[in-house]
Symmetry: C2
Subunit: 119 residues, 2 copies
């Protein structure tokens, strides 16, 4: 299986900031899929957005890690009006539980010795 | 679907440290499942280990986020002899690509308003 490099974020040299969002979905869609796509598209247009990686398994547990140039960029995205509405729907309908952790990436490396250009 | 709280890490108040490991599996097992279990068990015995969250989807893309009390604890785990062997196998056999990002969690919050004790 060749790696789908589009699912890896192409982040710059650290330091940069990250939001780690671990969540358990409720059963049923409840408008989640559409809104999820809209939010990923909207996030990618925000100033300071560097990329994101997202995985959800068949049990509904998911991890989405987004990368940002600054804490200010994260704060602005959290306060974005459309995103605030999505966060409210998330708490009410989409997630039985989630954890959000915000931090600073200090170093990074990749492997195996395959450059993204080679794939 | 009730959240399986055992898949969320019960981390202390920040600050603490994190390793974000995003990876694309090769096809076939190649001893990965056994070794993965062994490594998670071994990691959990290391000094400074605070927990981990891990998800892999049907395409083989996975994100494992582990949490640690200090940078020193992360460095010791990276240098652990059994883990070094697993890292070598990972590069050779298990992953077509991976990204490792190491950072410091500065703040954290959870939702919805369900305490783990209520689940």
């Amino acid at each position: 299986m060749i790696a789908d490099m589009s699912r890896f974020a192409r982040t710059p040299q650290p330091p940069y900031y990250t939001v780690i969002f671990t969540s358990q979905r409720t059963e049923g869609d409840h408008g989640y899929a559409d809104m999820g796509e809209q939010m990923m598209a909207l996030a990618s247009q925000q100033e300071g957005y560097l990329g994101a990686e997202s995985v959800r398994d068949a049990t509904g547990l998911g991890i989405t890690v987004s990368y940002w140039a600054s804490q200010e960029a994260i704060a602005k995205w959290k306060a974005n009006a459309a995103h605030v509405r999505a966060q409210q729907l998330g708490k009410r309908s989409w997630y039985t539980h989630f954890e959000v952790r915000v931090g600073k990436v200090e170093r990074a490396y990749a492997g195996p010795q395959l450059e993204s250009g080679a794939l």
